[in-house]
Symmetry: C2
Subunit: 126 residues, 2 copies
């Protein structure tokens, strides 16, 4: 069987498309967007306020990527001022549950990481 035909996705292969998708859902802002949308739908600037430190450019870019991959729905109401609601698709919900788990594991275990870092830095302080 050649590589091109019906080979199972494998993130360890440099050219595997799953790499790119993985990078989208685990991107700096992708994670936070997915996790936020797990609660409820958000408008663009609500998300911007919710997620500390995102620039408008990066939020727009992240949402476009996630929309194209089928993770979020974009619902633009033709009103003035513009109103665009973002929500998860069912595929997006699956992804969001995974990244939410990861994000909250990190929050919970942060003290252990901090401790490990202090020990590491201590050990090689000159």
């Amino acid at each position: 069987m050649t590589e091109a035909l019906s080979e199972a996705p494998n993130v360890n292969r440099a050219t595997c498309p799953s790499r790119i998708v993985l990078e989208h859902v685990t991107s700096r802002w992708g994670i936070l967007v997915l996790a936020a949308l797990l609660d409820r739908s958000y408008r663009f600037s609500e998300l911007r306020r919710e997620i500390g430190g995102v620039s408008e450019k990066m939020l727009a870019q992240t949402l476009q990527t996630l929309e194209r991959d089928g993770f979020v729905n974009r619902d633009a109401k033709p009103v003035i001022p513009p109103r665009v609601d973002y929500s998860l698709t069912s595929l997006g919900r699956e992804a969001a549950e995974q990244v939410w788990g990861l994000a909250h594991w990190v929050e919970r275990r942060l003290p252990a990481v901090t401790e490990a870092r202090d020990a590491y830095d201590e050990a090689r302080a000159s």
Copy 2:
């Protein structure tokens, strides 16, 4: 209560240290290193061969970051040629299980993403 004192980690706060740790474990190569080490320990260049497309520089950098955060153990044997074994700590194992879940979810659901993308691109083809 001021912000500085004993506030719970919150990834949505721009200055929260958990952001940085989350970026380390979800970094492009961090994910793949953690997932690989879930199986067994690896030597530096074994990992390099296992994970398609990593440069030596990025692998070294990723391993150092993960070591400092307390996720991997580095065991350098004083032999020639050098032999350095990397393995997960128990903290690292917890993280690795989370990212493994994510990576394999992506592999499994890749067809759905591909389909969504085709539909998206189709819809706005001129």
